[in-house]
């Protein structure tokens, strides 16, 4: 019994690992295609049909590059930086429920009762990857990028966490599995907490260092930001972890606000198909579609909006999003008291 449990969890972990990396690889291709289409261009189309082999070509290129370590850098921390960035990026997806249970086996690596806290903990460690990498490079641009990254991510984590407190208030749980299950019965959380979703969305742009919050990288000002001195697969890890993070925040947003794997009118579908593996498959595909939409949203915003100025970034985080999220908590509390959900 224990061994079968371990095997199933092991397989699930491998699957999540593979899906995260695969989606991230093709997100790099998608990013370039979306950018091209939005600028009336074609995008990569040389490697394979429609350029579909481009991520493989990019990966091979990354591996073949010289693995350069600057002379006066801290060698250990220089390697540690991208490792932390990649590890933490891959750790988040384990608490995400992928579909309703098949034959009593939950399609989720682990449903810990503090899933949300776990996500936040892992994301907070992620900033160390960027900070250590920028510091160890012994380069002023890298250090500036790392400084920006750490202050930005710490500032926006606060508003992000506070926006989720209202979700925890209305669902009464921190387990992602339970939050998704609850949404199969009632409304999706986005209709109950639109402001929390908006704040969470903006903060997840900032947390993944995506435009318009890409000040840590900021090609036009800081050369490459925290990864200026990086090359070869170490650079690849940094760039890749950004896409894995995009996938993860898409998954978290879909689970928390858009019903996770639940289809619209979930109970009707469950009656039609029956509670079996076909329903789980449809749910998985539907969840995947939601994640892909969010990844597209990330790209869409990147190729629409210009970058924030640094003081604007801080103003938005501390003076607007933070008070708004506190206001949202208070409003949710008052509403729940008025409607008699809490005494």
């Amino acid at each position: 019994m224990l061994s079968s449990f371990l095997i199933i969890k092991f397989l699930l972990a491998i699957a999540v690992f593979a899906i995260s990396l695969g989606v991230a690889a093709y997100a790099t291709y998608g990013e370039r295609k979306v950018a091209a289409f939005m600028q009336d261009r074609i995008g990569p189309d040389r490697a394979g049909p429609f350029g579909l082999l481009q991520p493989i070509a990019d990966g091979v290129k990354m591996f073949m590059k010289e693995d350069f370590v600057p002379a006066n850098s801290n060698k250990f921390l220089f390697v540690l930086g991208p490792s932390i960035a990649m590890t933490t990026a891959l750790m988040t997806a384990v608490v995400v429920p992928w579909a309703s249970p098949v034959n009593g086996v939950a399609l989720q690596v682990t449903d810990i009762n503090i899933g949300l806290l776990y996500v936040f903990g892992v994301v907070s460690i992620g900033v160390y990857g960027i900070m250590i990498g920028g510091w160890a490079s012994n380069n002023k641009y890298s250090l500036l990028g790392a400084l920006r990254a750490s202050s930005q991510m710490i500032s926006y984590e606060i508003a992000m966490g506070l926006s989720l407190i209202s979700i925890v208030m209305i669902t009464g749980t921190m387990s992602l599995g339970k939050i998704v299950e609850q949404q199969s019965l009632g409304y999706w959380n986005v209709f109950l907490q639109p402001l929390a979703f908006l704040i969470f969305l903006i903060c997840s742009f900032a947390e993944t260092n995506r435009a318009p919050f890409d000040l840590p990288e900021c090609e036009t000002e800081l050369v490459g930001g925290y990864h200026t001195e990086y090359s070869s697969m170490k650079l690849g890890f940094y760039l890749f972890s950004e896409y894995v993070n995009m996938f993860n925040s898409g998954a978290i947003m879909a689970s928390l606000f858009f019903g996770g794997y639940n289809l619209p009118f979930a109970s009707y579908f469950a009656q039609m198909v029956g509670q079996n593996w076909i329903l789980s498959l449809i749910q998985f595909l539907f969840f995947f579609g939601k994640i892909l939409f969010f990844i597209f949203l990330f790209m869409w915003v990147r190729w629409t909006l210009p970058r924030f100025r640094y003081d604007q970034l801080m103003t938005l985080g501390w003076k607007i999003l933070l008070p708004l999220s506190i206001l949202n908590i208070v409003a949710t509390g008052i509403f729940m008291y008025m409607s008699g959900q809490i005494q």
Partner: protein
């Protein structure tokens, strides 16, 4: 002066509440980028796909041979004089006995060089040529790594007898007629019994 209908008067007034939210403006911008996803791309996949060129397009030069395969150029130097960019240089030589099949006239260009980096492809050399020896064609001058490689000598300029260069491809009927019109100054000679009419004297 108004150049387009898209110009907007810039104002420094306070933003209204909806403007200070920024969200409507952001959504508006995203709608614009989304619309562009379905627009036709402007890209021409160049080596695979040629861009359509005008019928009078002026590209890489060719030094023509006559119907017997002899070089038409007689190294008179009129093209070099006409060239506003001073891209053309040449060295003349006298035709030896037995070279009649190689060179049409008694004098020929031993060296004929066009610097393609200097050339502005104006076509004045073609217009100046009294022997109909030099033409601009619809070919594109290829990219090179070294500056020296852009100086095209006779090896690159003179057409191959086996593979003649079709100069009519870029010539419209009007251009052809113009080139062969004897009343025009560029084809007039003293042998015609008339004075050369210089266009700048009109």
């Amino acid at each position: 002066m108004q150049l387009t209908n898209r110009s907007k008067q810039v104002s420094n007034t306070e933003m209204t509440f909806s403007e200070s939210l920024y969200l409507p403006a952001i959504l508006n911008g995203m709608a614009i980028t989304f619309k562009h996803m379905f627009k036709k791309e402007a890209t021409v996949r160049f080596p695979d796909q040629d861009r359509p060129i005008a019928p009078v397009y002026r590209g890489q030069h060719v030094l023509k041979r006559d119907e017997n395969g002899a070089e038409r150029c007689t190294a008179c130097g009129l093209c070099a004089v006409a060239c506003p960019a001073e891209a053309i240089t040449m060295e003349a030589a006298e035709r030896k006995k037995g070279e009649e099949t190689l060179y049409r006239e008694e004098k020929y260009a031993a060296v004929y060089e066009i610097n393609m980096l200097r050339c502005i492809f104006c076509g004045l050399c073609e217009e100046a040529c009294p022997k109909e020896a030099i033409f601009l064609t619809d070919r594109i001058v290829s990219a090179e790594d070294l500056r020296e490689d852009f100086i095209y000598g006779k090896s690159k300029l003179v057409e191959d007898t086996q593979h003649r260069v079709d100069v009519t491809r870029r010539q419209t009927e009007e251009v052809l007629e113009f080139k062969h019109d004897k009343s025009k100054y560029h084809n007039q000679t003293h042998e015609d019994g008339k004075d050369i009419i210089h266009p700048w004297k009109h």
